[in-house]
Symmetry: C2
Subunit: 938 residues, 2 copies
């Protein structure tokens, strides 16, 4: 059968629905006839008053686009048939037709619409005769010329607005509505001249007459050009950008809908409006929307006139019946779609026409409330309710926001990347230490840094928000801030920071911010404001809790499918408690290096750098004590739940100062010494000073040599992870014993501590074999010391391709695998997370070489490695537990993949646990036959 390019919708002359259905369900049909077309046919089937028409398919658009904007063979004939069919059904010729567009994805404001198509100098007379309303007819005509010229022919819309303004000035009036029929007739002529002056006949030879552009009077030609414009609009920059932002595939195409025009501007018993069946902002079950009397659709959106609330529609004289019918339509739509709907309508001389409907977009707050209402009303099941809330949306509810009214009036003084959501207010501070000091005094502060480093962790934790001038959405600041659930604006290029002098300026302004000056930052938008903006924490009610409980109910139901747990990444007792409060069933990753910072940093530095073995040993012992304390707190907070502790992972130089800075410092001291030497020849007393200086230089030079010896060209591929344990076995022993003895102490107290030990960066099974043996010996020693039996599973991160590839070997020595997708992505793709944001990732996204940031959403190649890892690991060790603890562990798209890859749990930031719980429930539903629906009533 030849491909069908056009589908009919609406009614025949007897009012029977004659829509051709493009799919078994409206969801299926929308891939062919687009969201709008499919829903028009669906509404016709429901008997709702849809103006009849036909739809040219999305696939036709793609074929047209791919052929370089050329119609596929036979399609024009097919369209012509359907046009004639529509004329037959209506009993009138084109000249009353209307042309609209739609796509399988609802793209509000993206695809262009042309109203009043078919009008020309002749048919406008017909319209006058038919309505006896010349003003209406010319208003429609001038709208058509204007819309056709700008939308279809690409003439600047401003030219027409200017002409209208000129006309109003000439007439001394202010509103469009004050122009009369003659004025509008004049405008039609003016508009046609604008058309003639601005259309390039080389581009549009169809409108050429004697070498000049003439506004086309032939309705068939008008239709053809309009159809081509809609299909052409699929590849406008604006549409491409929108699709990129919304991850819509370019290959979908858009449909063209041609339907009979309903005039909402045919006098005071005509109207037009948009509405939602419930409140999309907060989910209240009330009619929501606006209408305008005697107007066409674009007037409502344009905001030229003040609209009326939809609830008042039945009160307008002459619109009573249509209004009540509309509200009845609300019910029919909700009954049919079992969701909150968004719709457009027009009333032409008292008769209601439904122009569009679709599932209404809504806030997170509304999504939760509507889903629960719909379940309570018996329209949907709990599973459907759970599927109705987009996990990503919850982020809105989990962080404080600026008060909308307050923030509206404030100037955005700088803009950066929206790196970690939520809003924060505080005094500007320029160092980690100052942030800690402010916090200690109970003052709120924003840490402002060029970029952050692990050194800044205490300050980042103490601050209320983070602002950096460099780095992208996966920079250190961004990643850590998201992990902490703290607002962060990154990469504010205008920010010029002079940290030593505790001041920063904003390029292009005369603003200088000194320490203590209060600013407000919005990590959800990337905006920076001066002064203290008003913060609000959205009212959650119990809706979020309810939906999450339903999600868990589904997630833990073994009869419904495989169970996937949600754990959290946390490094201290507070975060562990928060994780538990947010519903995590364990800690998937505790990064012990985070316990080596702040006041403890000098200890690890002593361990690394000290020549004296006693100093080294002392430093190590103190680190062990300190870590044990942390573990006691964490294991207690997570009593009865597993806590995976990862051994020290980063290369040691991350704990050391920068050799470059030190070398510059030495150069400066040497210059000073040289100057002193010269002066000492005059002033003898300076000799002593210089000798001291020279000693200091020698000490620093020795230190520099040491620092350099720890440098690596490619630290990510260097001496880190389990490799450290072979070079510095004492570090391992210290950590093994700190973990085991904290557990032993708690168990003796009756606390059910459940630590698990994770060895990072394993590439060879031999590594794990050796370290496991070492670990088991240390645990045995602790067992003997405390007289308790410990059961501490030992596992490894799978974060190198080789580990995934040889997972069958490694699993012989592992109780669990945790896929470290950050590192795995780095090595699999050869992207450095430390560099990629500032280098080529943007270019790659723009050139569409990649669709998503592979550090945020699991890459296909990395997914294959995870698959090899799970399959290989379970093949030799069926009891192996497999989880993931990378950034992607909290990403809904990735969670779906992890469910399908058979992971036992995902682990993410404590703040994302609710998101992950919902996403995991949805993944399970998706992968087990989709959501159960309400049983048909018997």
């Amino acid at each position: 059968m030849a491909e069908k390019h056009v589908y009919r919708f609406g009614f025949d002359q007897d009012g029977n629905n004659v829509s051709e259905v493009a799919g078994a369900t409206v969801d299926e049909a929308k891939w062919i006839t687009g969201g709008k077309g499919a829903n028009l046919a669906e509404m016709a089937a429901l008997g709702l008053p849809v103006p009849s028409g036909f739809t040219i398919t999305c696939q036709t658009c793609v074929a047209y686009s791919n052929a370089g904007n050329v119609w596929p063979e036979g399609v024009l004939d097919e369209i012509d048939e359907y046009r004639k069919d529509l004329e037959d059904r209506m009993g009138k010729k084109l000249g009353d037709a209307d042309d609209r567009s739609g796509a399988p994805f609802s793209m509000p404001g993206m695809m262009d619409t042309v109203l009043n198509l078919g009008l020309n100098d002749d048919s406008v007379q017909g319209l006058i005769k038919q309505t006896d309303n010349p003003r209406f007819a010319y208003d429609s005509y001038r709208r058509f010329v204007q819309m056709f010229s700008s939308v279809v022919m690409g003439v600047s819309g401003q030219l027409f607005e200017d002409a209208i303004s000129a006309k109003k000035a000439e007439k001394g009036v202010k509103l469009d509505t004050e122009l009369d029929a003659d004025d509008l007739k004049d405008l039609v002529a003016t508009f046609k001249q604008i058309f003639a002056d601005n259309v390039d006949v080389a581009k549009y030879p169809e409108v050429e007459v004697d070498g000049k552009a003439v506004f086309p009077h032939d309705p068939i030609l008008q239709l053809r050009l309009a159809e081509q414009a809609v299909f052409g609009s699929w590849n406008t920059e604006r549409a491409i950008l929108y699709r990129k932002q919304n991850k819509i595939d370019d290959s979908l195409g858009t449909a063209v809908n041609v339907q009979v025009m309903a005039f909402g501007n045919k006098g005071n018993t005509s109207a037009t409006g948009v509405a939602f069946t419930r409140n999309p902002a907060d989910g209240t079950n009330e009619r929501y929307g606006d209408f305008l009397v005697n107007a066409q659709g674009e007037d409502v959106v344009a905001g030229i006139r003040n609209t009326e609330p939809i609830a008042d529609l039945p009160q307008v004289p002459g619109l009573e019946d249509a209004g009540n019918e509309l509200f009845h339509v609300f019910e029919i739509l909700e009954d049919h779609y079992a969701d909150m709907m968004d719709l457009e309508f027009t009333i032409e001389q008292g008769k209601l026409y439904m122009l569009q409907t679709r599932v209404g977009k809504r806030t997170a707050l509304s999504a939760l409330k509507v889903a629960i209402q719909m379940y309570e009303e018996g329209r949907i099941t709990k599973e459907q309710a759970v599927m109705r809330v987009a996990p990503e949306q919850l982020d809105q509810l989990l962080h404080p926001q600026f008060d909308a009214a307050d923030i509206k009036g404030r100037e955005v003084v700088a803009k950066g990347l929206n790196a970690s959501p939520g809003a924060a207010v505080g005094a500007v501070v320029f160092s980690s230490e100052d942030a800690v000091a402010y916090a200690a005094e109970g003052k709120q502060c924003i840490l402002v840094r060029w970029e952050t480093t692990p050194d800044d962790l205490p300050g980042m934790d103490a601050a209320d928000g983070i602002l950096t001038s460099h780095g992208g959405k996966t920079s250190h600041a961004a990643v850590i801030a998201r992990g902490m659930g703290e607002p962060c604006v990154c990469g504010v290029e205008a920010l010029q920071i002079d940290a030593p002098n505790k001041v920063c300026t904003i390029a292009g302004t005369d603003i200088a911010l000194h320490e203590g000056d209060v600013i407000s930052i919005d990590g959800t938008t990337g905006n920076v404001y001066l002064g203290e903006a008003k913060l609000v924490r959205p009212e959650l009610g119990g809706d979020l809790q309810t939906i999450l409980e339903w999600a868990d109910e589904i997630r833990f139901n073994e009869d419904r499918g495989r169970v996937m747990g949600v754990r959290a990444n946390a490094d201290n007792p507070d975060d562990a408690q928060l994780s538990r409060d947010n519903g995590a069933v364990g800690i998937g990753l505790c990064r012990t290096e985070h316990m080596f910072l702040g006041e403890r940093k000098y200890l690890i530095q002593n361990f690394i750098l000290a020549d004296d073995p006693a100093v080294k040993a002392d430093a190590l012992a103190k680190l062990g004590e300190a870590q044990k304390g942390d573990f006691l707190g964490m294991f207690k907070a997570m009593e009865g739940l597993p806590v995976i502790v990862r051994l020290l992972d980063p290369p040691l130089h991350e704990f050391l100062d920068s050799p470059r800075e030190l070398e510059v410092e030495i150069a400066k001291l040497e210059a000073a010494s040289k100057a002193l030497e010269a002066a000492a020849s005059v002033d003898d007393s300076l000799t002593q000073v210089n000798e001291e200086l020279e000693t200091a230089i020698a000490v620093k030079a020795a230190l520099l040599k040491q620092l350099d010896s720890f440098q690596e060209a490619n630290p990510m591929l260097g001496t880190r992870g389990c490799r450290l344990g072979f070079l510095y076995p004492e570090l391992n022993h210290m950590q093994f014993k700190a973990i085991a003895s904290a557990a032993a102490e708690l168990i003796k107290e009756g606390v059910d501590a459940k630590p698990e030990i994770m060895i990072p960066l394993v590439a060879f099974s031999e590594e794990l074999k050796h370290l496991r043996r070492m670990c088991e010996a240390d645990i045995a020693a602790v067992e003997a010391e405390y007289g308790v039996k410990l059961e501490i599973p030992i596992g490894t991160m799978i974060e190198l391709p080789r580990a995934a590839i040889t997972a069958d070997h490694i699993a012989k020595y592992a109780d669990f695998y945790s896929f470290g997708t950050n590192d795995l992505t780095q090595t699999c793709l050869g992207f450095s997370r430390d560099d990629v944001e500032s280098s080529f990732l943007d270019t790659y996204m723009n050139e569409k070489l990649i669709k998503t940031n592979p550090f945020a959403t699991l890459d296909r190649g990395v997914a294959r490695l995870v698959q090899m890892g799970v399959e290989g690991g379970k093949s030799t060790n069926p009891n192996l537990t497999c989880g993931v603890c990378g950034e992607t562990g909290g990403d809904p798209d990735s969670i779906q993949k992890y469910y399908d890859l058979g992971l036992d749990y995902v682990s993410c930031s404590p703040f994302r646990v609710p998101i992950a719980r919902l996403a995991a429930a949805q993944a399970k539903i998706n992968s087990n036959g989709g959501a159960q629906t309400v049983a048909p009533r018997v």
Copy 2:
């Protein structure tokens, strides 16, 4: 059937061979009874005069070792049976037995031997009676006590040597042979006392009598302790180290051979010796070896007395028959083994005994000659001849060496890693520029550097050898030197280099080398000598050529199996010519970044750093011209053969100066400026100077900012490879056009230029799709310009795990794949090649976490990626050519794997091409049923 632990060899009382054969062939048997035991049984089967005995298997050794040096159940009984059987066969009791060891791998000097076992105060009397030669008997006895004490009981051998020296001093004689029977009898007593004083009875309770150690008189106990010592020796440090160096698996174990003693010290018709059936040094078909009259085996090796050449043996009175019989044995052995054999023999009172034979170790020169001779003699086929030469050995022949006699007398003043084989002599220079200057004047030089960088390439090329104080065998210097075939000694820690002052010193000596001082370095041994050592280029004759021709004959024979080509990595016309001369059938990798160095470096710097677009464009145009010139030379040199040109690969900062150095320089200038400022307040004229200085500082500060903007935390995972082409498309266009226009120009001249273009570091198929399109457009433009048709295949490096994993997708846009195993190993294992040598690799090798350096020999995980790449690629593009161009492409072990993985070619350094040709032929033979043997005579 219970496991058999002991095998019999030798003869019964009637002289019939009663050996128990442990395998179908001697090669099979040696895995059970060890190399020595298997060959003893084999010789017995040939009717050769082997002293009878039995062998305890290697598997017994492993079981003994694994059980913590405890005998497996029943084995002691089994051994006892065989001992009794041997006593029965000989018609005499233990007391004449001898105990020797062997392993499946011949380990000369590694496993310990105990002669004369069974002697005690009683049996020595028997020996005297039997021989009427008390001196012989006591000589044997004192040898036994000495050997047993040191080898079996671990007493320091020096104590016995000291006692002998004392005895000689007491007697006023110089030679051992001058001691008479009484002296030797005294020594036996002294030796027993040394035993008593030095053996720890806690460790050896078997020899305890009344709390003291007493030399064991019981022959059965002697035997048991000796057997345990041999098995125990498998795990001595020396043996472990040897196995590590020779890649011998620890799980093989060693066998113990117990055989009847043949005395070579029974007077002047007795003798002992070692021999080869041909000359192992140069392959001449002559008898080769030494003997000693009236001596035991260890005397020959110890060098106490001067040995006689084996050819003279039949001339010695009383040894005529045994000598002629020995030469007849040579022929029997060569006929049987069809190889040059190494053997040990003893003549006891005119009767010949064969103690050992094995395939003789030989130099490369000898290996070639013997293989060819054996073929010509009809003993082996060409395939066997090709299998007889170890590819790695050829390296000896391909580089100049020091004259052995000359170098023997020279002091090794420093020692480093033998990073690139061959010897070199030249004047010391400390910079690349100086090396180039020396070379320009025709002077030989050695480039001495802390470490080399890509900056040093011109100097490395100009120098005759390279010496560095840092870096390992895979450091930049080592890799590049091997690529250049230039001798290199790396990581000489004693070297203290002061490059600015052009001097270096050697720690622990008072040697200071100034520029121009002549030194000699040996990249084969890592030795450094002062002055000019004599260089020789070994005489190759045509043997190498012959074997390589045979190898190629096999390699290109399609009936014999799949053909795998050998190409070379070369970046300039000279290397291309050398590659061709060495038998390469194409260039597998031309690294274009090597064309950006030396005088051209400022051009690429201008391109990167210049703000002025005109300067940028000009730099690019000049680079294009220069590259085109290089390509013309290379394509011409390789006429008719493919030349794969890789686009620019390294991150751009590799072409830029170090920001750290610049920052230090700025700090110094700022200090100078500050000083000047102070001085200017006194001397006004200095103000001008200081202003100029400040300007210079500002310029440098701006440059520093630029340099920093190109820095990356992890350059290997950064902005490099094809990623550059998306950020700087003009670089790609320049290179595409330079390649295509060079080819076009040559084709017009009638030269068959065959370039192929390789896109590096592809991770996503979309990258290759885009760049291929770009490249094709540029080629088309060149075709139009020159009016010629170009056929330039376009392919990619597979050097990231993701590329290998998604090879099926990428292959849709690739004509060929070249596996870049250097990068693939880095990312698969998470090892940085730039760092790994100086960090944990050594530890890993020592701890046996890994067996070989994964950058030198293909790692198993990486091999799996290569397999995925080949299979995936060919699944969607059956015409895809697959090769490898990493370091491993020239490694024989890896070449075997590449053959089995189905690669179409390997590419390596031009100097390794002969090695790779031979290795590839051997791989083909191995993977296709093994070498054909000589047809049995009809």
